[in-house]
């Protein structure tokens, strides 16, 4: 399919955008990446995602699809050849959807709290919660991978894409907090998985370097503080 048929409205630092990029790469789909300025949203973005006005938006044959988990499932279903991102069995599908929801709704806010923690006490408390979550994800990985390298087994699957695209932010968080979030003494299996994920061909060049993300986060924090101060 011509690249012009598949467009992705996105922003490089967004892990949600990265998910779609990795999914498209895994399926070997050519696409046009249209970077968005989230501080000054384009007409195309506002027209394509009027409900949330957020990235990523996939535009396929002129039709927009929003919400990263919805988009990744769409990509898997439209380009249904191998590799399959979601498992075939309904119970396994329910399991990966459960963990994807857990990662987005429960675990990632814990990571954000850790990164934004201002004093040592709240940082320690936040870190504890992040590690508890990682233990659950470590178990999920062991159950899902069945001795192979990825949540999806031998190849990358839905959960690899969902969790893996947060790794840039996790590393940036480690720089900012000075803490090891992915720690081989705590979650050895996930540490091994993380290395395999980031060195996978489909991930190459997608996730920005941790330093770039750490700077981006600091910039955002400064902008938020400035907006706060000026509104008082």
């Amino acid at each position: 399919m011509a690249a012009s048929d598949v467009k992705l409205l996105g922003a490089r630092p967004s892990p949600f955008v990265n998910r779609v990029q990795v999914a498209l790469n895994l399926k070997s789909i050519d696409y046009e990446f249209i970077p968005q300025n989230l501080a000054d949203k384009s007409e195309l973005l506002l027209k394509s995602n009027p409900v949330h006005k957020k990235v990523p938006v996939l535009i396929h044959g002129g039709q927009p699809i929003s919400e990263s988990l919805v988009i990744v499932q769409y990509v898997d279903e439209v380009w249904s050849g191998p590799p399959s991102l979601l498992p075939a069995d309904p119970y396994d599908r329910a399991t990966v959807r459960f963990w994807a929801a857990y990662i987005d709704e429960k675990w990632s806010p814990l990571v954000r709290n850790l990164i934004n923690a201002t004093d040592e006490q709240s940082k320690a408390a936040a870190a504890e919660k992040v590690f508890e979550g990682l233990k659950l994800l470590e178990d999920a990985f062991v159950n899902s991978s069945k001795g192979k390298g990825f949540f999806g087994g031998e190849k990358l699957g839905f959960l690899d894409v969902v969790l893996g695209c947060y790794l840039g932010w996790v590393r940036a968080g480690e720089i900012i907090t000075g803490l090891k979030i992915l720690d081989e003494t705590k979650t050895a299996a996930l540490v091994g998985w993380a290395e395999r994920f980031t060195s996978n061909k489909a991930v190459d060049g997608v996730i920005p370097e941790p330093e770039e993300l750490a700077n981006f986060m600091k910039m955002q924090a400064r902008a938020a503080a400035a907006a706060d101060a000026s509104s008082k």
Binding site: V51, I71, Q73, E77, P90, Y91, A94, F98, L136
Partner: protein, 220 residues
């Protein structure tokens, strides 16, 4: 499927429990309903949903599935021969998932703020709620159901909130029918389906429940 054992852990009045009940009824699946007391969670609930400790949980031949929309998709995929809830076209499926996700992200939280807050906060919640309903009404358009000609996934996701409208309207002092007549028409159309009318809670019981909940939480 002969020999299937289906158990649902839920609570009366939970919109999320109701989604599962509607989906199972649409598929004609027999199941055992176990009412949970959320102030005193059963060992079974804690065992089958250790991560969230929440209802609903579907237990199919001993294997638990959690999170209402995930359960509904599971039901649709296992019992795929009768009354499909998700469309077969990938783009339509993506749209259905998007709108069900929208319902999940917006309706419960905003509805709760209508009865759980007062003054300016309550007014803001009411306005936001009406806005959300208007957005959904826009998406419905002239279709009989969100799924088009057929009752589908988004309909299942949203219809349980209809029995909570009476409570929201009382506490928020508005009428959904005035603000979004087409949406209420849609809800009444859904209520004509046995799967819906048998699964939804009594709006008056919901209202009484919220009254007692407010007392318990010390919200005037």
């Amino acid at each position: 499927m002969a020999g299937d054992k289906v158990v649902v852990l839920g609570t009366y009045g939970s919109m999320f429990s109701m989604r599962v009940q509607v989906a199972l009824a649409e598929k004609g699946i027999e199941y055992e309903n176990k009412e949970e007391d959320l102030a005193n969670k059963s060992p079974l609930l804690l065992e089958v949903n250790p991560v969230h400790k929440k209802i609903p949980v579907l237990i199919h031949n001993g294997k638990p599935v959690c999170e209402s929309l995930i359960i509904v998709q599971y039901i649709d995929e296992v019992w795929h021969d009768k009354n499909p809830l998700l469309p077969s076209d990938p783009y339509q499926r993506a749209q259905a998932r998007f709108w069900a996700d929208f319902v999940d992200k917006k309706v419960y939280d905003c509805g709760r703020r209508i009865w759980a807050t007062k003054g300016e906060e309550k007014e803001a919640a009411k306005k936001e709620f009406i806005g959300i309903m208007k957005t959904l009404e826009g998406e419905l358009g002239n279709k009989p159901y969100f799924g088009g000609e057929d009752f589908g996934y988004v309909d299942v996701a949203l219809i349980p909130f209809y029995c909570w409208f009476h409570a929201y309207e009382n506490f928020g002092n508005f009428k959904t029918e005035t603000e979004c007549p087409k949406l209420v028409e849609w809800a009444k159309r859904c209520m004509q389906r046995e799967s819906v009318s048998k699964s939804l809670a009594d709006p008056h019981k919901i209202y009484e429940f919220v009254v007692s909940l407010k007392k318990k939480l010390g919200i005037e």
